[in-house]
């Protein structure tokens, strides 16, 4: 039920002048927003910019959030738009296989297994960049961010039927970008490893 949505309550409190409520919203959503941006843009630097821009836009436009969609869905929409804007502005091929070194502190991998997982994530992220943007957006929302077809349609402002056909096309394009059977075996063998996996 929407009434029970804690985000809706936080939005209401922020609109009543409680800045801390916005802080809580940011804390609750920053990880999803950042990872969506990272998967859309393929670069940590761009993901940082898009995340910041998405939250600043949310700050400006929160008044227009009417609570008809869940805040999460709305925030996904704002983030996808920030990524589209950023990618349009940059208009350059994303650097594949970039490991985002030198762009700020980040935790070291905890173990060899974990490091393999990170490496594979980077392969998948790089392959995602070869998927046409409209397909990529649907693919990430449905298969990486776990939105329903309906919420993805809402977030992208397209019909549900369009989401389903783009999702299929996007999946096929990603599988082709991932390429070799060896890479596929690695992907199949690894499986979910810990709680940080979406």
């Amino acid at each position: 039920m929407r009434e029970a949505d804690p985000d809706a309550e936080l939005v209401r409190r922020y609109l009543d002048g409680d800045v801390q409520a916005f802080g809580v919203l940011v804390e609750r959503h920053e990880r999803r927003v950042y990872n969506l941006a990272l998967r859309m843009t393929g670069r940590e630097e761009d993901a940082r910019d898009a995340t910041q821009e998405a939250f600043l836009t949310a700050l400006r436009k929160l008044k227009t959030f009417r609570g008809e969609a869940a805040f999460t869905t709305w925030m996904h929409r704002v983030t996808v738009n920030a990524c589209y804007d950023l990618l349009r502005k940059r208009q350059r091929a994303p650097l594949l296989h970039e490991r985002d070194e030198g762009s700020g502190p980040r935790p070291e991998p905890a173990s060899a297994d974990h490091a393999d997982g990170v490496g594979m994530s980077i392969d998948v992220r790089a392959a995602l960049q070869q998927v046409p943007l409209d397909f990529r957006a649907v693919l990430i929302l449905c298969d990486a961010q776990d939105l329903s077809y309906e919420d993805a349609a809402e977030a992208l402002g397209v019909p549900v039927g369009t989401v389903k056909s783009r999702l299929h096309r996007g999946r096929v394009a990603l599988a082709r970008a991932l390429g070799s059977p060896e890479a596929r075996e690695r992907a199949d063998a690894s499986g979910p490893s810990d709680g940080t996996v979406t």
Binding site: V19, G23, T51, P105, G117, V124, D143, K164
Partner: protein, 254 residues
């Protein structure tokens, strides 16, 4: 042959109704292309399911919160009733008296005359005249911009905040290598970015340096609950010196 493309995503997800699944099954029995696509789509789903979730790097959402606080302050200032503004003005008057007392006393310590101060000061203070005096703390020395020829990172900002917290309420020591300039541009840039210089937030240092490679002004503030009260927090505002956008904010309780 017509391919049931609109059904294939749901076929892979296993969410098709029985009758639609039967349609796809029948098609796949005769269409190698769709069979291959369904296999590829399933591989893509597995690959995405193990996509690692990255932690959010430091400093990404700080500027957002700074902007939220800045916009709330502007809203609050518009909402503030006349009586509050009157009281706030009273606080400023008290601060101005403190500044005056300091102006008389300080030259004895520093060996500089009050006239020297006045000649150098004036234009180098905050854009809002009264707030400017309060912003400079209980010192009659005009605030000068410290120009550092190096790149600051988040650790440097933490150190600056720590220094400022220890130096309350005295003026913190400047880096020996810093060149000094009038601070007008830095103060107006900080103001543009949304912080009200003076009142609750007394500007104790203004620094020009690079922050993570971006030319920036760093404003070090003592923040109190209300104008004239002792500071409770150190606030570092880091803004781009080219467009005055907020790069990050650091706050530390005293």
């Amino acid at each position: 042959m017509t391919h049931p493309e609109d059904l294939l995503a749901e076929f892979v997800d296993g969410t098709l109704a029985d009758d639609q699944r039967a349609v796809v099954d029948a098609h796949l029995a005769t269409c190698a292309r769709c069979r291959e696509e369904v296999e590829a789509a399933a591989r893509a789903v597995s690959a995405l399911a193990v996509l690692h979730e990255e932690p959010v790097p430091l400093g990404v959402t700080g500027p957002v919160m700074a902007a939220a606080e800045g916009s709330e302050r502007r809203r609050a200032a518009r909402r503030r009733p006349a009586w509050d503004r009157f009281q706030w003005a009273g606080g400023l008057a008290a601060a101005a008296i403190l500044v005056l007392v300091a102006a008389v006393l300080l030259p004895r310590v520093t060996g500089r005359s009050a006239n020297d101060e006045a000649a150098e000061g004036g234009s180098e203070r905050a854009p809002t005249a009264e707030a400017g005096d309060a912003a400079l703390g209980a010192s009659a020395e005009p605030l000068q911009l410290e120009v550092l020829d190096r790149v600051l990172d988040d650790d440097d900002l933490k150190r600056l905040a720590d220094d400022a917290a220890e130096a309350v309420p005295a003026v913190p020591e400047r880096e020996a290598s810093a060149a000094l300039e009038p601070a007008n541009a830095a103060i107006s840039c900080l103001t543009d970015s949304g912080i009200t210089v003076g009142g609750r937030d007394m500007l104790v240092r203004a620094i020009r340096a690079q922050y993570l490679g971006t030319p920036a002004y760093v404003g070090v503030f003592h923040e109190s609950r209300a104008a004239g009260e002792p500071p409770e927090k150190i606030l570092l505002w880091v803004v781009s010196s080219t467009d005055c956008s907020i790069l990050t904010i650091v706050s530390k309780s005293i």
